[in-house]
């Protein structure tokens, strides 16, 4: 299975807009949304019915049995995550607890146990020829990386014979991004011609390189600042990063998204340009 991952570093550069257009162009047998923190791909791809829906259990959480607790305070003193507090009785803040088990191990009264906790939901959609794997992380959860790994695992298991898969990633460079990078064949970075966008693009390129993954760049909304677009192109040339092309700012793109469509579903400048970027990307991925 050849896996193409779409990332950007900066948020809002157009990852999902481009991923959804690519899905329309190539009709892959498998695709996934790894932006588990703020998933949006399902809003514009017309997937089949939900074939599987299950709770995602991330890290366990400590629970204190008030009837056994002797209020010795040892657990609170040894918790590195400041997750234990005393308010009449000793309690665990489930948002801060990382389930490390230290409190459970040192409690002299055996009053603490770790219990599984629901950290989100995994969804699998099925159509005749394709599957779509996605998830929604529960708010405030610290296990987005693990859930991303689950989304990819679910995708592979549901369609192990797929030749091609498209994965929409999350912004940033931290754990969900790192988890999404593992095992993919190529990363396409959607850059934006702003100084913020350029700075963020460089940081995601360094991150992807650390994991030794083939990286290519395209520019979205390139005409918002031509000078910065030229800077990105020059950077790619200098660093020998494959450049896949550019897509103009297009008011119609917003309208398409708001109607639950991709830019490939309507006749617009952004859609046409995205097609060219897709063809270049496909060439590089399968070369």
């Amino acid at each position: 299975m050849k896996q193409l991952l779409i990332l950007s570093g900066k948020g809002g550069t157009g990852k999902t807009t481009i991923a959804s257009a690519f899905i329309k162009f190539s009709d892959p047998e498998a695709y996934a949304d790894c932006d588990v923190d703020a998933p949006n791909l399902h809003l514009v791809t017309r997937q089949g019915p939900v074939s599987n829906k299950k709770n995602y259990y991330g890290l366990e959480r400590a629970e204190i049995d008030a009837s056994k607790c002797i209020s010795c305070d040892i657990c609170r003193q040894n918790c590195r995550f400041d997750a234990i507090f005393s308010k009449e009785t000793y309690k665990v803040n489930p948002f801060a607890c990382e389930g490390c088990g230290v409190c459970e191990a040192i409690c002299p009264a055996n009053a603490i146990t770790s219990k599984p906790a629901v950290d989100g939901e995994l969804l699998l959609y099925k159509k005749e020829k394709s599957i779509f794997s996605t998830a929604q992380l529960k708010m405030g959860s610290g296990t987005s990386g693990l859930l991303v790994t689950e989304v990819k695992k679910q995708m592979k298991e549901a369609k192990s014979d797929a030749e091609f898969a498209i994965i929409d990633g999350s912004p940033g460079i931290g754990c969900p991004v790192i988890a999404s990078l593992s095992g993919v064949d190529m990363v396409l970075i959607v850059a934006e011609p702003s100084l913020s966008g350029i700075s963020d693009m460089k940081r995601i390129i360094i991150t992807a390189e650390k994991f030794g993954i083939k990286t290519a760049v395209c520019i979205n909304k390139f005409d918002i600042n031509i000078k910065n677009t030229e800077k990105i192109k020059a950077f790619c040339k200098k660093e020998k990063i494959s450049y896949m092309g550019e897509i103009p700012f297009d008011h119609d793109a917003v309208n398409a998204v708001n109607k639950g469509m991709t830019i490939a579903d309507i006749d617009c400048a952004a859609g046409k340009a995205a097609k060219k970027v897709y063809e270049e990307t496909e060439k590089l991925l399968f070369e």
Binding site: K10, A38, L43, E60, F95, G101, D200, N258
Partner: protein, 293 residues
């Protein structure tokens, strides 16, 4: 205001990336003048590109990672069995630490019967302090390849905890996971920045639930508003959410922003817009804290 302090702590968040968190927090801090701007988007911090601060001071941020003395380790594997994150493995008579997945809980050190494990500091990023005109700037920056910026965010906010004479603007990361929760923890008020797309609304709904869950008073700024119907505005009206203001989609503002220029420092029109926004926010914070007491 809240007892013992006369400043306000405002967190700016959005769920979706690229809706204008940095635009809003940078410009509000700039019109507030004697303010503090904290960039908690440690994975991709951009506020410093706008403020271009002088007198920069850098400080590394560390986490604690176990280190093994293989002469003392007798291979009992207690640490390996204990570690919930599988950050330790005993292979071929040798203990290995996988520091990328270690959560620094300290459990292995505590449990080792041989005292073969100690802790060392591992750098994961830095905090950069600087000044731009009258604004104090604190930027958190995670090193590429590191998984979690939470320790940097904690240190950024801890540093400014006792400040009482300057308003604080916290630029949050996108999403609604642990890093966002950490960033809004001490905020007196949250500003949610939304854009007029169905993506924007879907993610606005998530942060709306987050601030509601944490009982934070909040309001919405609608950014990139156009003439067409605005699904984000409809969402606010439906859910009776306070709209603090609207910023129109405007090519000049987009251009200034793409060049990392602070709009309120270069253009009188934007100065007027953000000054009035700041007044609205201040009034809201006063109302919220008054109704609390």
């Amino acid at each position: 205001m809240i007892m013992g302090k006369n400043n306000m702590k405002i967190a700016v968040l959005s769920g979706k990336g690229g809706t204008g968190k940095t635009l809003v927090s940078v410009n509000l801090a700039a019109v507030a003048k004697k303010a503090i701007y904290i960039d908690c988007d440690v994975e991709e911090p951009n506020g410093h590109l706008f403020f271009k601060p002088d007198d920069k001071k850098e400080k590394e941020v560390y986490v604690l990672i176990p280190e093994v003395n293989n002469n003392l380790c007798n291979g009992c594997r207690k640490c390996v069995d204990f570690c919930r994150f599988n950050a330790l493995a005993y292979i071929k008579n040798k203990l290995f630490v996988f520091e990328e997945i270690c959560h620094s809980c300290g459990g292995c050190i505590m449990l080792c019967p041989q005292n073969a494990l100690t802790e060392r500091e591992k750098p994961i990023g830095k905090i950069i302090e600087g000044v731009s005109e009258e604004v104090y700037l604190y930027t958190g920056m995670l090193d590429p390849g590191e998984a979690s910026g939470v320790p940097i965010i904690k240190e950024l906010l801890e540093k400014n905890k006792s400040v009482s004479d300057r308003d604080i603007f916290i630029d949050c990361p996108p999403g609604s996971a642990c890093v966002v929760m950490e960033s809004i923890k001490d905020a007196d008020y949250c500003i949610l920045v939304a854009e007029p797309t169905v993506f924007g609304v879907h993610n606005l709904n998530m942060v709306y639930e987050l601030v509601t869950l944490f009982k934070k008073p909040f309001g919405v700024i609608l950014n990139k508003c156009m003439d067409e119907r605005d699904p984000a505005e409809e969402f606010c009206i439906e859910n009776k959410i306070k709209i603090l203001g609207k910023i129109k989609f405007d090519k000049t503002l987009g251009k200034l922003n793409s060049e990392a220029q602070i709009a309120v420092r270069t253009n009188e029109k934007y100065k007027v817009i953000f000054t009035s926004l700041l007044e609205t926010v201040k009034k809201e914070v006063r109302n919220e804290t008054a109704s609390d007491s």
